[in-house]
């Protein structure tokens, strides 16, 4: 099992869509929300995903196709 800490950023047209619920229904991924802020025209959610590596990866690829931006919570660790 792999755990991954990610941040989803929602553009305004996707704020109403239950993307996290869809992710957990479509892929074998446990979604655990830790922090979030949702405003009228944007929103972000920090969550931990638990599951098999391949499930998490294909799940995140699907999330990206919806238009939600996916980033690591830790920020970029590859420095110049």
């Amino acid at each position: 099992m792999t755990k991954l800490r990610v941040r989803f950023t929602f553009p305004d047209n996707l704020v109403p869509r239950p993307v996290i619920w869809e992710l957990s229904q479509t892929f074998k991924v446990v979604t655990n929300i830790r922090r979030a802020e949702v405003q009228e025209n944007t929103g972000w959610v920090i969550l931990e995903l638990t599951g098999e590596e391949v499930e998490i990866q294909t799940g995140l690829e699907w999330v990206r196709t919806t238009g939600v931006e996916v980033e690591l919570v830790s920020g970029d660790v590859l420095e110049g």
Binding site: S74, G75, D76, V77, L78, E79, G80
Partner: protein, 407 residues
């Protein structure tokens, strides 16, 4: 003995003991070191600092590692030079350059790595690690060599060969990752959870980033114990920028300098400007981007401290400047040709930002202004290749004289 008391989550305020950890278990917010400032105020004086070594460790009371036997290559206390020529050209009478290009591995990264390495040894790690495309890898490998520790440096496999030499010479284990930038990032984040190593900018990050405060302390001390009116600082993760600000404020809260009124000017290249763009758009969060810039040392598209950098811009009444890519090399050449200092691309960004700030009237002639030169130009010679056009002559006096005449 040190005055570190532990770690605190910058998001939810939860306290932790001083352990190798960079994110809050509860909310995943970033952790920051906490100190016993009351105890520090009882011992720390200007004189105590001045009697310390001519390195960053003269400020050990304000660093999160015990400075009695630091892993140190003699980093810090780099020159603060009055830039008379550049100042005259720009109409600034009090312009200074903080030249961190002369650190042991030729960039400011030695400051953060010296603190992280020293703390890693206190935690009894025997291996240092990082993911890097240049400056950081070289510094980590150098400190590991000095400390007799093993080191692992991860980098994208398509990195130019020359960039690897600056790390390889210290004999770390170099790991070339066949994958995209995002994949390298992701892999290294995961590795830090699985291997008992001190990843300097991951599990050691709360300690590591504190090393940057010394760039605030030194400038204040070198200016005669006062903070400047303006700082111009190139930004990647935003950490250096926020820590210089923190450094000034710590000195002021300990009555070592007068109250701080420094306007903090952040600058980023057009090809990677997530923090400056968020500021321009009035956002309080940074939207990550894919970097595409000549300034590789600033190519962080998802800056860990972006949110906090935006707060410092506001709190200090500072600015954020986006420098067009074509002005990076211009900035490097301008500084070299006016002040004799050869900076890498991040310094080129800072110099071009300074010119823009002066044009906009943000900086006045007699205001004390410090421009941070964070790395050495020999690291990025490819960016200024076009400056090379020698006189080509035969090995005779006549040929030389003809060539000089037609010049």
């Amino acid at each position: 003995m040190g005055y570190l008391t532990g770690l605190r989550c910058r998001s939810c305020g939860r306290d932790y003991p001083a352990v190798p950890l960079n994110a809050c278990d509860l909310c995943f917010g970033p952790l920051e070191t906490t100190y016993d400032y009351k105890a520090i105020s009882k011992v720390l004086t200007r004189k105590r600092i001045q009697n310390g070594p001519l390195t960053i460790w003269r400020y050990q009371d304000l660093l999160p590692a015990d400075g009695t036997d630091p892993i140190d290559l003699s980093t810090g206390f780099t020159p603060l030079i009055k830039a008379r020529n550049l100042g005259r050209l720009l109409g600034l009478n009090e312009l200074y350059l903080k030249n961190d290009a002369v650190n042991p591995s030729y960039s400011f990264k030695d400051r953060v790595v010296s603190v992280a390495a020293t703390k890693a040894r206190e935690f009894e790690f025997d291996t240092l690690a990082c993911a890097s495309t240049g400056n950081l890898g070289g510094s980590v490998a150098a400190h590991a060599a000095r400390a007799g520790m093993a080191s692992y440096i991860f980098f994208p496999a398509d990195l130019e060969h020359g960039k690897m030499v600056g790390a390889a010479v210290y004999k770390p284990t170099l790991v070339a990752v066949n994958g995209s930038y995002d994949q390298v990032n992701r892999l290294c984040s995961e590795l830090a959870d699985s291997y008992p190593w001190a990843f300097v900018n991951i599990n050691m990050r709360p300690y590591y980033s504190e090393g940057s405060k010394t760039l605030g302390y030194e400038v204040a001390e070198q200016l005669g114990w006062k903070a400047p009116n303006h700082c111009i600082i190139p930004a990647a993760s935003g950490s250096l920028y926020t820590k210089i600000w923190k450094g000034f404020h710590e000195l002021a809260s300990l009555d070592l300098i007068p109250p701080v009124h420094t306007e903090m000017h952040l600058t980023q290249p057009a090809g990677c400007s997530p923090i400056a763009t968020a500021h321009e758009e009035g956002l309080d969060q940074v939207r990550p981007i894919k970097p595409d810039t000549l300034a590789k040392s600033l190519a962080i598209g998802n800056p860990a401290d972006g949110f906090y950098a935006l707060q410092v811009i506001q709190a200090s009444k500072g600015t954020a400047t986006i420098v067009p890519e074509e002005e990076i090399a211009e900035g490097i050449e301008y500084l070299a040709q006016t002040e004799g200092i050869f900076t890498e691309t991040a310094g080129g960004v800072a110099v071009s930002a300074l010119r823009r700030l002066v044009q906009r009237g943000v900086i006045k002639a007699d205001e004390t202004t410090v421009l941070y030169v964070t790395g050495n130009g020999l690291k990025t010679v490819e960016v200024v290749q076009s400056v090379v056009h020698p006189l080509n002559i035969s090995p005779t006096m006549t040929s030389f004289q003809q060539s000089i005449k037609s010049e």
